[in-house]
Amino acid sequence: MKRYLLTVLLAVFALGGIGTYYVHGAVHPLPAYRIAVTEGDEALFDRLVVTAFQSHPSPPRQLEISLAGSEYEHERSVFDIRRSIHPLEAELGVHARRFLRGKWASPVNFYLDGQTVVYAETQDVPAADGRADVFVNVEMMDLESGKRSDFRVLLESGVAGLWPYVADVQRIGEELHLFVEYGGEYRVYVLAMDGRLVRMVQVSLPPAVLEGERDGSVRMSLAANHRPQDPKSVVGILVKIYGTREDGTDPADGGQEAPAGGTMTGESAGDLGDPPGLTRMDAGDGPRLQRIDLYVYDYAAEDVRPAGRYELGGSTEQWYNLMTGRHHVLYRYGENGLEMLRMSLADGGVERFVYTAEQLGGHPVRTFTREGHLYVLTHAGDGSLEGAGITVLDLDRAAVAARAVVAPANRAAEDPAVTLLLEDFALR
Amino acid sequence: MQPDEGFTFEFNSREPVYLQVVRHFKVWIATGRLKAGQTIPSRRELAVLAKINPNTAQRAYREMEEQRLIVTEGNSPSRITGDERVLRSVRSELLEEAVDRFLELIRPIDVSTDELVALVRQKHAARNGGNSGHD
């Protein structure tokens, strides 16, 4: 051995040094965190991941925090491969892996009832002079037997500019109804199960709306849906009206009467009045949103009807919306709290709710909605764990469904000098 | 038996080396450089001495043993034979060889035996400084 001293020493030095480095690392880990549920159903947080930045004095290090704990971005290796297929995997059961392969589109392209799953996605096939023929590929599977069938239908030929794309899929009896957004307008293509195009329904909004959209004082969009893949009777269409015309006529006034209770009424949780962060900027920058009319397309009636109206009086903030089972919800949030307007799809009545930062447990950073729940990510704003957490609101019940906080998971995380900035959150 | 004692080998490349070695020994025996019964080098020593391949030295000794020039009892070193007949025959053999070659050389010249003998006597006398050898 003595003859090989040089080599042996070098090996000891090399392995010893690197070994010590990682042992030391294991003994003195970076700050670790976890999501601790303080109230309500833990299941609501199962797949929730908060992305945050930990720093001091080191460079900010990005990490992901979940119920299980936290994981640093730069510590992720191929040995941490997560098996991930599709948000809908669970609902499709045993055949999910096969059926979902290669289907990256969002849940709006799916239709799922107890027995069958339907998937519809448009595909454009280039044709002469830059135009294209737009087909829709439909694929169906029986959830029990796993039997699959598919067909392809030509929707439009010689399309230029904006392609049609599928916004909602419904199966009604032996017919498939594809709600398609095509350029500025909406159409419903009704297909027979054998792949014949039975008919096309033009979703016709009042002419004033369309005219307003042409001169830019009106914008249309589809209402977000809390479970796009579910069977549903209607699709919501938001008509946003900005300002008023010179001639004083109200754009987009389809002569519709504001439905009963269409004006701001109702209760709200917590103290009223706009918290500072929610006050509307009077600075004229940005278009001023006067009001939002909600129309719904009814699959059964194959027609559009007004469902209600939000009076917003020239708001310049970002409004988010969601169709739950029985309501349509409009909300915005700021530094100090969250304001929520909730319209009953039954009678169009609108209630207003305000949740202050105190009620939410911290300042809102981000929100998203899922399955009738509104998730609000809050923090203290100063990098401390004070007020860092998630509050989940049940939109139908207009009540706090659950709460969780971001808690330290090791001693390093308890060091007051260490800062944690929550950035975003989502369901994985 | 060392080069400095005049035991040096010279070879031409057309005759088998082992036969040339043998002739060197015969010459030294005939000229009395090698005495009867004198021990001679081992074959390895000979190889080094003559700068030849030990195999060749081996072969040369085998040849000399067959011609009874050297004798080897048991594993004691080889020595020059003591057999007078053999030694004498070596001398005469060398002489005859030399004379044969000499005659071969002069055959083209037309000369009578007497003239030849006279000439030989004269030259031989001159070399041996006067005292003409009477055989």
Binding site: - | S13, R14, E15, V17, A47, N53, N55, T56
Partner: protein
């Protein structure tokens, strides 16, 4: 016995060996002669597995060792190394090494067959110092040292590639003297050279290589005895008909 059979070697389009067959007998010094570029040293390298051949077989004491037949797998490399020592025509040690270090290297890697005493004797015989750097040795000295490294390995066979080429007269004599010493005693030697006169009196067998095949094989003494011709005479006949 090393049996070379139908050895084939191509360099790109050049067909150097076109079926060479001969044997190296234990205890005999065999000289592989041929004009430059005849593929003499290619054959030696092929025997050592230093160059792959395109065909033919190389058996060392009955065991096949040709790379293309054996893949050189397992202990074959060892078998070959313990059977045959190769003395190439260039120093086969890093120039940065000292003579002494090179000897230690050999002792270290050839524990089974390295004869330290023999190596010391030869160093003395060639008057080589242990402290010298291999890189600084003259060509002649380097050639002698090569001989030391090769011959101090107790192998039944020794291959020498052009031991005399491009070195001074006295080194040549010193090297030639090695053949009449005991260091080659009983070993089968295969030597290539184009300076046949240096070894004319030393070699037992001659293998003449011509146009990629063996043109003539003979025992030098028998040839002198039978036809009274020197090796050079025969070579003239073969190469300049």
């Amino acid at each position: 016995m090393i049996e070379i059979e139908n050895l084939q070697k191509r360099y790109l389009r050049k067909h150097v060996l076109r079926g060479v067959s001969f044997t190296v007998e234990p205890g005999l010094i065999t000289c592989l002669a041929g004009l430059n570029g005849a593929g003499k040293s290619t054959i030696l390298k092929a025997i050592m597995g230093l160059v792959p051949v395109d065909g033919g077989s190389i058996r060392i004491d009955g065991r096949e060792t040709a790379l293309h037949l054996t893949g050189n797998r397992g202990q074959l490399n060892r078998y070959r190394a313990l059977k045959v020592a190769f003395i190439p025509d260039r120093p086969a040690m890093p120039p940065s090494m000292k003579v002494g270090e090179a000897l230690r290297f050999m002792a270290d890697f050839y524990p089974a067959i390295w004869n330290e005493e023999k190596a010391r004797d030869m160093l003395a015989f060639f008057e080589l110092g242990e402290g010298e750097r291999l890189g600084s040795l003259s060509r002649g000295t380097a050639a002698k040292f090569n001989l030391v490294l090769g011959l101090a390995l107790e192998t039944p066979y020794v291959l020498m590639d052009e031991p005399f080429s491009g070195i001074d007269l006295f080194s040549r004599e010193a090297i030639a003297d090695v053949f009449s010493t005991g260091w080659l005693e009983g070993r089968g030697v295969l030597i290539t050279t184009h300076e046949i006169r240096e070894v004319e009196h030393l070699i037992d067998r001659v293998v003449l290589l011509k146009d990629g095949v063996v043109a003539k094989t003979f025992d030098s003494e028998e040839m002198r005895l039978a036809e009274n011709k020197s090796i050079v005479d025969i070579m003239r006949e073969v190469y300049r008909p």
